[in-house]
């Protein structure tokens, strides 16, 4: 920064952390500025592929446990904004960019049928901004920067959900509901940050962690923690704060639902992990109590209540939305155990549930493309006319239940292991019981698709390849990660260890 110090020119590989954000960020205004309907999709896809490549390069650099720190504007942290990549968030970056790279080819046909052509440029611009926001939340090491990127992703998400209004006007109220809830969540989060700033005088996460550890617990810090947990809880859709989620997922355009279900709540969980384990420490008694007596019961409630509601839905998409809330319960259960195995289970489930739900929501989108809706009585019997789509839905469904050989089994298995390890065996029983509820709602879909007679006078063609291929990549990933368990478990365990090392892992 100063004139005296000799400057060492940075190379492009030093800039990877900022390029991760910059590529999708710049693509959004470029899409609007060029404004060509033919180029729009290609620009978005190229940007997404590039950021996927960058995420791979970043993960390769940090997989051995090292940390990359990047200073924005040359200002050194804790004063300046710092981007900080370690094994945990490199893993999330890879998930988010990977999903967006698969969703975009899928989105092309789906968006064509669901959104009028004149809005396509703005749609893809909003999509890239949403991607930028999610990546920014993940990569940044500055607590206030998390809030800024959270707002970028949230605002564009509201717009994306409202795009469903060309099919169903209720998308507008769904987006509005989410706008209100999301804004309250973001406000709580920023109030929490304000209190932390008041108590410590810093916003850099690593610095925050040190100063909180130094001064110990006081009322301001405890209130800050509570505000941050409630604020992120609204974004994650922790059980009693989940009301926006089913409507938002049901009425959003299919491609948007796939992307949000697989990434947005996962990134919010990552932020919760960052704050509960890196900024605050598990040795902070208030946090242990909050997790054990508030988050844990709600997680169990979510596993059962949301699954029950899912069973009685008549709309495939809405059923999946409720099942998402139940699955979030498993992740929170893993987190609130506060052990390495529990955390490993939560992070593995975060990934596995991401690919499982992406498969299923892609399936719904394809069925809706052909039949014009996702109600059970609209899609009944489509298993015969659309065998490939339906088969992938079955694979996704099995993974959602947690049948051995699929991705969903691995994370639930580790979760059961974690509860037994902690000696809380009744929880293991509850996990198995709630999985049985998943059997019921998944079976209902299989019954509708294969055993009911198709509606009279309908003869659906199989979906276009541009949608089938991304869906099958996801479906095969569900099986691959169910068999090659080392990959996810090693990465999740590394991430869990990094998180539990707390501030030592940060500095």
């Amino acid at each position: 920064m100063s004139a005296e110090s000799t400057h060492v020119a940075m190379t492009l590989s030093d800039h990877l952390p900022i390029l991760q954000i910059l590529v999708p960020l710049v693509s959004a205004p470029l899409i609007v500025l060029i404004g060509s309907r033919r180029l729009t999709w290609s620009l978005a896809f190229i940007a997404s592929v590039l950021s996927f490549g960058i995420a791979i390069l970043l993960l390769m650099q940090v997989i051995d446990g090292s940390i990359i720190s990047y200073q924005i504007g040359g200002w050194a942290p804790p004063l300046g904004i710092e981007y900080r990549v370690d094994a945990t968030n490199a893993f999330v970056l890879l998930l988010v960019t990977g999903i967006s790279t698969l969703v975009l080819p899928y989105a092309r046909e789906s968006v064509k049928s669901e959104i009028p052509a004149k809005h396509h440029t703005l749609f893809y611009a909003a999509f890239m901004l949403c991607l930028t926001g999610l990546l920014g939340v993940t990569i940044t090491g500055d607590a206030f920067n998390v809030f800024v990127f959270l707002e970028i992703s949230s605002l564009s998400t509201y717009v994306l959900i409202a795009q469903g209004s060309y099919r169903d006007k209720r998308a507008l109220t769904a987006a509005y509901d989410y706008l209100i809830m999301g804004t309250i969540g973001a406000t709580f989060f920023v109030i929490g940050l304000g209190m932390l700033y008041m108590a410590t005088g810093t916003l850099n996460m690593a610095d925050l962690a040190d100063r909180i550890a130094d001064q110990g617990s006081n009322r301001t810090v405890r209130a800050a923690f509570a505000f941050i947990v409630v604020g992120m809880g609204l974004k994650i859709a922790i059980y009693p704060l989940h009301l926006w989620l089913p409507r938002a997922y049901t009425f959003a355009p299919s491609a948007v639902t796939v992307f949000l279900a697989a990434t947005a709540t996962k990134v919010a969980i990552y932020v919760l992990l960052r704050f509960t384990f890196s900024v605050f420490q598990p040795s902070f008694m208030f946090e242990v109590n909050t997790l054990e007596f508030i988050i844990l019961p709600f997680a169990i409630l979510a596993m059962f209540a949301a699954s029950f509601i899912a069973i009685f839905q008549n709309d495939f998409k809405r059923m999946l939305a409720y099942s998402s809330i139940a699955q979030i319960g498993y992740m929170l259960l893993g987190i609130s155990l506060l052990t390495e195995t529990g955390l490993t289970a939560a992070i593995a489930h975060l990934f596995n549930h991401g690919i499982t739900k992406a498969t299923l929501f892609m399936g719904v989108g394809i069925l809706a493309l052909r039949s014009g809706g996702s109600f059970y009585n609209r899609i009944q019997g489509m298993g015969k006319s659309m065998p490939w789509t339906s088969a992938a839905i079955v694979i996704g469904g099995l993974s959602l239940i947690g049948v051995p050989g699929t991705a969903g089994f691995i994370s639930k298995w580790v979760l059961v292991e974690a509860t037994i390890e902690k000696g809380w065996w009744p929880l293991s029983v509850l996990i198995v019981l709630s999985s049985l509820l998943a059997v019921i709602y998944v079976w209902r879909v299989i019954e509708v698709l294969y055993l009911k007679t198709p509606l009279a006078g309908t003869d659906y063609r199989e979906a276009p390849f541009s949608m089938l291929i991304p869906m099958w990549i996801m479906a095969l990933a569900c099986i691959y990660f169910g068999l090659a368990t080392d990959v996810t478990l090693t990465a999740s365990r590394a991430a869990a260890q990094g998180l539990l090392a707390g501030s030592a892992g940060m500095m």
Binding site: L22, A28, P29, L33, Q71, I72
Partner: protein
Amino acid sequence: MRHHLILRVITKLLVGAIMLFAFYVQFHGDFSPGGGFQAGVIMAVAFILYGLVFSLHNVQQVFPPWLVHKLVALGVLIYAGTGIVSLFLGYSFLDYGAFTPDHPSHGQHYGIFAVELGVGITVTAVMVAIYYAFAGRPPRLSDEEW
């Protein structure tokens, strides 16, 4: 529609002055209170005031909606582009020292200048776009029915 004579005359007088003040706030921002955001809002006020008094149709001929949309994107690109230039000069993103390596504080002036210009353009365009979006909705009652 020949009523509101005073309003129309005063508006015509004011629009130019408002724009001039916007430029002052924009370009004097690094020495006095102000900057891109405030200047952008003031600049947008000039268009909004013109639209309120002389109808939406007239202001949209001066500042067409398609141009507004492009400018929203252009401002962001100017901001990010400044950072990208510094990145290609071998410094970190938005490190303005890159523009004059021998004398970093000059570089910071140039950098802030470019970035604030981007902010100003985007804020102007966004404010006007919001005004167009609201004013562009067909009214339930026409003016004559009041």
